[in-house]
Symmetry: D2
Subunit: 157 residues, 4 copies
């Protein structure tokens, strides 16, 4: 990890990363995942509500699996932000707690932080909310709809 303690990406860089993950990963594009903020210690993404993402059609609530996919992708971005470069990683395991259902027809924001890196493994935490907190405020689980804990493998080479 570089000397720079917490590099913050500017608007243009964030847009470029968002474009890249949709261009490169078809399923990110199919879901419509956007990148909102990137700093070395924390990444934020956004998932607009869409009819084909719904799990509960009576109330128009997003499918839990969509939230899981969003947070998984956000964890991957958090690792790259921490490492400071695109990296070959693979999710080893992910635990998601569904704290409460997303509100009907609501977009979702996810955050993730990679808080520990070893030679072969990265540890990540994150969550999902329905209102983007002001820049700089620490992400919390008080109003979160999901919480995530994951372990990722760093592939060498």
């Amino acid at each position: 990890v570089s000397k720079e303690r917490d590099r913050i990406y500017d608007t243009e860089e964030v847009a470029r990363v968002g474009q890249m993950i949709r261009d490169f990963v078809p399923h990110n594009r199919a879901l419509g995942i956007e990148v909102v903020r990137i700093r070395m210690t924390e990444v934020w993404t956004r998932l607009p509500w869409a009819p084909h993402l719904v799990g509960d059609p009576v109330r128009g609530i997003l499918h839990g699996g969509v939230i899981s996919t969003l947070t998984d992708a956000t964890c991957g971005l958090a690792i790259m932000a921490r490492l400071g470069r695109p990296s070959s990683i693979a999710t080893l395991d992910l635990r998601i707690d569904y704290l409460k259902p997303a509100p009907p027809h609501a977009e979702v924001y996810a955050w993730a932080s990679c808080f520990r890196v070893t030679k072969s493994v990265c540890f990540v935490r994150g969550g999902a909310v329905t209102v983007l907190p002001p820049e700089g405020s620490p992400p919390g689980l008080d109003d979160a709809i999901a919480a995530v804990a994951g372990t990722f493998a760093r592939k060498s080479g």
Copy 2:
């Protein structure tokens, strides 16, 4: 749980449940989840490979989040099979281990078993493979691409 120790659904019933979960849940339909086998103690589903489900475009490998969504849905079906009726349930938490990547352009099969039910919580285990094992053979993790452990809330009323 009924006296019937392991009710096995016939082909027509399986097809009807498969139709129902795609008709009712838009995101199941968007992914293309099919139901393959249902018995009280074990449910099998299938996810055909499709371009918009890809996570690794270089090798044409399914997105991990898609596998997670498939297994989550399969766990829900396993609970209903165990309870013997459609039930209002919600995923509390789910852990998925990604054991190896799915092969390129490969369909995926998922299984789940609800092995314990309390008044308010159901415990489920499952996994995903790329070859459907013969009917009656116990599902194992030896060639699995993912393993899943989840806890679900039974909603009363």
Copy 3:
């Protein structure tokens, strides 16, 4: 949850709770778990190093299972602090990530927060460190030796 947003227990109350969990639970006593701080939103405990708690005798490092037991007990306390009263709870599931080994012969501090309560389930997060942070500073995972995520059942009656 009461109107009081974050009740802080005074020194005497903390000592009394610590005495109670050792008097009442033989295995807490066998490990030597102490209670350090209690507030509605966060609980801290301490485990003094002792020879019979060691997992790696070459380096004198505590057994991971001991850290797990400590954090489990701390999660239980965090739920009671949040609910504002002794409550009948049971661990449904617990995930622990071992971020790095405890240092040789080091005592360990654990914290936990119960950040969401439903009618039948409580969600808790926590961790373990080797240096107690100053009062009021938010617990983080940067120097943590373990991180914990758990779901607990509230037993009615």
Copy 4:
């Protein structure tokens, strides 16, 4: 993994491993963990009931953390059985589901299987029961008191 598909340890070898893990690991000795069966694909251990292991003194039920420590140790043994030699491993993360409380004053048996090994990570599943099943019968979760899923790091060198 050797050509030998499922090496089974004889009584003397099992006793020697049991002696070793108690001699070498103080906390295993403090708990009283015994080794019951070892084969390449599955390991069984036993924890005799003892007053200082109790979590619920009213009913004399073992502390959940003790079950967790037992299963963690059993997972480590399962990895060594699979690799065919003592190995330097470290628990990365462990999820335990508490399915039902152990009966009062009951001993506990734990099993674990390491079902996948990569260059740097081992995946393990296991559980705990109160009655040792007949040799050769596959371990199941139907009457289990706990289920475990863990990821372990293989340390090189």
